[in-house]
Symmetry: D2
Subunit: 331 residues, 4 copies
C-alpha cells in the first residue's frame, strides 16, 4: 500500500512517536509512506515526500512533529476538498493516516464523506477528543503542569501568599483538573464550573487562618467566573484570579503562566507507548481497509471507533474526577 501521513492542529509531545510507529510497521509490511508537511495544508499544496525508517531514527524521545503541523481545514476553504482529492490522486495514496485533534479529525471525517480513505489518530493536550479515553500529548502535558504545581508548593516564606498557575484548557478542564489533583493544588478553577472568587477567597483565608502560609491555585485558561464585570475582558484567567484574590484577601499573589511550555518537551513513557500503539493499529486498520475510523484507547486496548464520533464535541471530564478535586481542595 501507499500510505499518506500527516499531523495537524497544535503541537504536542508524542507526535513523532506515532509517526515512527506508522513508518516502521508500514515499512515492515512492505508499504510505502508519503509524509505531507504542515497538516492538511501540505496535502492541498502537494508538499509530499517519502518517509523511511531511517528518517525516524531518534525521534521517539522528541517533542513536536518532524512533519510540521498547521491549523488548516480543507473542508472550510472553497475548492479545498478538490485539491486534497487531486493530490491524493496524483501522488497515488491509498489511505491517509491523519494525526490530529478534533479540528483536524473533523476535517478527516468530512473528507471521508467525500470518498477519501482516512484513518484518524487522536492527539491533544486537552484530552477531549470524543471516542477515546486518552489522546497523545495529554499525559506529558499533565506531567509538565504537575511539576510546576509541585515547585510552587515549596515555600518557606513567612507571609500569606497565593501561588497562581495558569494552564491550558479553553473548553474543557482535563489538564487543570488532573494536574491540580496530582500536584495537590489547594484550589482549581475550570471551564466546567464558574468560580465564585468571593467564596474562593474566603475558603483560602480559612485555610490560612488554620496555619497555612501559602496556597497553590491552578487556573485553566478557559476558567469561567461568577459576577465579573466587563473590565476583565482583556485579562487572562490567571490574571483575573491572581488580581481578584489579592484584592479580596490582601495576600500577596504570584502568577505563573505556563503557556507553550505545556506543548513541548520529551513525551512521557506513557505517551510514547500510546502513540506507538496508535501508529501500529492505524497501519493494521489500513490493511483491513477500516476507513473513516478513529484509533481509540479504551480500557487497555486499542479499538477502532467511527470517525464521526469526533463530531460529538469535546469529551467532558468525568464526574468522579470533579468529586475527587472537590474533596481535596478548599471549600
Amino acid at each position: 500500500m501507499r500510505i499518506g501521513l500527516l499531523t495537524g492542529g497544535g503541537d504536542c509531545p508524542g507526535l513523532d512517536a506515532a509517526i515512527r510507529g506508522v513508518v516502521r510497521v508500514a515499512e515492515d509490511e512492505g508499504d510505502e509512506i508519503i509524509g505531507f508537511r504542515h497538516g492538511w495544508r501540505g496535502v492541498v499544496d502537494g508538499e509530499a515526500s517519502s518517509l523511511t525508517t531511517a528518517d525516524t531514527k531518534g525521534i521517539l524521545q522528541q517533542g513536536g512533529t518532524m512533519l510540521g503541523t498547521a491549523r488548516y481545514h480543507p473542508d472550510e476553504h472553497t475548492g479545498g476538498v478538490d485539491m486534497v482529492l487531486a493530490t491524493i490522486d496524483r501522488v497515488g495514496v491509498d489511505v491517509l493516516i491523519v494525526i490530529g485533534g478534533d479540528g483536524t479529525l473533523g476535517s478527516a471525517h468530512q473528507l471521508a464523506l467525500s470518498g477519501i480513505p482516512v484513518i484518524g489518530i487522536p492527539k491533544t493536550i486537552d484530552n477531549d477528543v470524543s471516542g477515546t479515553t486518552r489522546c497523545i500529548g495529554f499525559d506529558t502535558a499533565v506531567a509538565t503542569a504537575t511539576e510546576a504545581v509541585d515547585r510552587l508548593h515549596t515555600t518557606g516564606e513567612s507571609h500569606d501568599r497565593l501561588m497562581v498557575v495558569e494552564v491550558m484548557g479553553r473548553t474543557t478542564g482535563w489538564l487543570g483538573l488532573c494536574a491540580g489533583i496530582a500536584g495537590g493544588a489547594d484550589a482549581i478553577c475550570l471551564p466546567e464550573e464558574p468560580t465564585d472568587l468571593d467564596k474562593l477567597a474566603h475558603a483560602l483565608q480559612r485555610r490560612h487562618d488554620r496555619g497555612s502560609t501559602s496556597s497553590v491555585v491552578v487556573v485553566a485558561e478557559g476558567a469561567r467566573f461568577e459576577d465579573l464585570t466587563g473590565s476583565n475582558c482583556h485579562r487572562s484567567a490567571g490574571e483575573v484570579v491572581s488580581d481578584g484574590l489579592a484584592a479580596r484577601t490582601g495576600y500577596e499573589t504570584r502568577l505563573t503562566v505556563l503557556g507553550h511550555v505545556q506543548r513541548g518537551g520529551m513525551p512521557t513513557a506513557t505517551d510514547r507507548l500510546l502513540a506507538t500503539s496508535f501508529g501500529v493499529a492505524a497501519v493494521q486498520a489500513a490493511h483491513t481497509r477500516s476507513f473513516d475510523t478513529l484509533m481509540a484507547s479504551i480500557d487497555d486496548r486499542i479499538e477502532l471507533v467511527p470517525l464521526a464520533e469526533v463530531a460529538v464535541g469535546p469529551r467532558p471530564v468525568p464526574k468522579y474526577l470533579l468529586d475527587v478535586a472537590r474533596y481535596l481542595t478548599v471549600r
Copy 2:
C-alpha cells in the same frame, strides 16, 4: 466510621498519595483513621496509631509509604486470622482499607471470608493484579525503566556494542514490555515467551550488518530461555543475556541492573492521580459498606470489583502490546 489503613507487599511510588487521599477524604467525612504499621504484621501485632490530614502534609510527591510495609500474610500463619480479628475488635475498626499487590489483597479476601470488612486498593510495579487495568506504582516504574533505556541509546562509540538492561518482572512482563516499547529497545526478553538466544544473536547481528553500532536489549528478571543448560542457574536473566549474546556475537556487552531503583522515586502525575482517586473511592466504598471489593481503574472510571477477582492470578500482558513489540524490535 473508624477506618483502618495499611500498605502491604513490596514498596512502590504512589502509596503515600493513596494514604493521603484516604485520610483527607475520611477526615472530611468525619471518619477517624487508624494507620497500621508494616502491613498485616502491624494488624497482627496491634501496631496502630491515629492518622490525620496534618500527618499527610507533603507526602503526595513522595515515594514509599509512611506506614511501612511488609510481606506477611496472616492467613498463612496459625492463629494469624484470630489475631487480626482480635486487633480489629480491640481497636474498634469498622473497615480495613488494604493497599497491596496480589499477595496482600489475597490475604484481604481470605479475611473477608472470615467476616472482616475489607476494601482493597491495587498497587504493584508489575501491574498484574487481576480486575484492574492499572495498579499504583506501575506508571512510575515504566517511566524509570524507560529513562534508563533512553540513556543507553546515546552512544557514539564506533564498535559493535550491546547494551543490556535488566528490569523487574518475575512472572509477567508488563514493565519490560512497556518500557521496551516506550524506550525504543531493539529487543525485549520476557517471561511470556522463551527467548532463543541464538536467534536473537543473529537478528542483532543483521541489524549491525545494516549499519547500527549499538543495540539496546531489555530483559525482564523472569525472562525464560530456550535450551539453556544448568550452568546458568545462579545467574540473573540480565547476565544470561549479556554473556550469552557476547559469546554468540563477539560484540562487547554492557549490563545495567536497575534493581530497586524501579521501586523508588517520586510518583508520576499519572500515578498520583490514580492513587488519589483510589483513595477517594475506597472511603466512598466504606460508607456504602461495599466490602470485599477491589477499587479498579477501568476505562477512565474507578469501579468496584469483587476482591475474589484478585485470586484469578497474574493478569497477562495484552496480546496487542506483544504485537507492537514484535513489529518494533529485531526479528
Copy 3:
C-alpha cells in the same frame, strides 16, 4: 558549642540541604543547634527550637526551608539589633550561622560589627552575592529555566512564531544568561545591556527569512530597553518583549512567565553538594571561631572570605559569558 541557625530572604532549593549539613556535622561534633524560624524575624521574636539529626531526615532532596524564611533586616528597624542581642544572650548562642542572599548577609555583617559572632552561607537563584562564584539555588533555577526553554523549542507549527519566556533576575542577568545559553535561546534580554527592540525584531526576521519558523527569546524580569515610552510602566519585561516584537514583526508571540516555579522544586545534585559543603565548612568555621566570614565556593574549594565582601554589591555576570551569548544568539 551552641550554634544558632537561620535562613533569610527569598526561598530557593538547597536551603534544607545546607541545614541538614550544619545539623549533622554539628551534632557529630557534640554541638547543640538552635533553629530560628523565619529568618531574622525569628531571632528578634525569639522563635527558637532545638534541631537534631532526626529532624533533618529526608530533607536533602526537598526544596524550600524547614526553618521558614522572611525578608526582614533587624538593622533597619529601631531596636532590632538590641533584640537580636537579647535573644542571643537569653538562648545562649555562641555563633549564628546565617543562610541568605545579600540582604540577609548584609544584616549579618552589620550585626557582626555590633559584636555578634556570625558566619554566612550564600544562597540566591540570582547568583550575585559578591565573594563566591556560586550560591545555593542557582544551579537548580538554571536547570528549571533551561527545561522551559527546551520545551519551547519543539514546535512543528508552520507559521512564524516567537516564544518568549520571562525568567527571574531584577538586577543581574545570571539566570537568564545561563539558561539562555544552555537552552539554546535565539535571543536573550538582560538587565546588563539595554535591548533595542527594533534591532532585535529585525534580527529575528532575518532568522525567519532564512527558514526558521519559530524562535525562543529569554527575557530577564529586570531587562532594560532602549527608547521605551512611559506606557510600558505597568507591564512586565516579558510583556514588553512579547507585545513589542509582535507589533514590529507581525509574528504571533506566546508568553511564558515562569515566576516562582524557579524558586521551587528538588535541588539539583550540584546544589545539594554545594549546600552540604557550605554547611560542613560553616560548622568548621564556628569551631575555629572564624566569625564575620562568608563561606565561598571558589574553584572547587570552599574558602572563607570576609563577610564585608557581600557589601560590594551584586556580582556582575562574567564578560566571557556575555560573549558566548552574543555568538550564539541572533544579531
Copy 4:
C-alpha cells in the same frame, strides 16, 4: 581558517553541545569546519566531512556525539602520527580541536610535539583530567547517579536492608563521592581509600540498631578493599560489597549496577553551558593560534592551560570533599 574537529574516548553527555558551540562560532567567524568521524581513527582513516550550523540543529539537548567516538591513540600505533599528518595535509586543516579525556588529549599533546596544531577540550564523567576543575559530562553523570541514590532511599519495608549501587570510576572517585554526598548515601566506597568491610558492616549495624531499616551504599567500580582473598577477582566492586555486607550483617542486600546509563541522557544545563563555553573558547584560541592548549574551567572563567598538564595524571578528588563525606556517612 579550516578547523578540524573530533571527539575521542568514551561517550558522555555534552559532546554535541561542544560540537555545536565550535561549529556555530567558527561559521560566524567565517571559518570552515571539518568533522572527523570516530575520534583519532577518523583522522588516521581520513573519514572527514564538512560541518555547518544546519548540521548542529537540535543537538544541544542530545547525549552522545554526532561525530562518533573511539578509544584509539595514533601515537601508540606505528605510522599513526604520520597518517594523521598526511590527513591534515591532504584535507588542509589549520588546527585540530580535540574533545576527549586524558587518553585522547594525551595523544593530542604527543601530536602537538610533532608539530600538529591542536587545541584540547576536556570531557569525562570521571572529572579527573588535570588542569581543569570541570570536564564535560561530569555534572550530568553526577545527576544521574544521584537520582538513583534518591530512589533507593524510599523504602517502607520493615526489615533490615542494604541498597548497594555501583557507579563508574575506576581510578578516581569523583562520581561516587559527589553522587554519594548529593544523594545522602549512608556509606561510600572509593578507589581513594581501601574499604574495610568488617568495619563498614559494624557501622551499618549500629545505624540499624538505632532504628534505621534501610541504608544506601554507593560503590565506585574501582573501589579497593582491605584483606580480600583472591576469590573476589571475578566479581565487580558492587558484588563484593553487596555479598560481603550480606554475609557480615545477615541483612538482605539489593544491588543496582548503573553501568552505561551514566554515560547517556540529555546533558544538564550546567554541562551544556560548560560545553558551549569550551567550544567558543576553543575557536577563539584557534584564532589567536594558542596551540597545544587545554580549555580549562577555573573559578567561573575559561582559561587556557598547557596541554602537557593533562599528562600529570588523574586529578585527585579534593580533600575537603572526602571530609564532607566522612562527616555525613556512617563510621
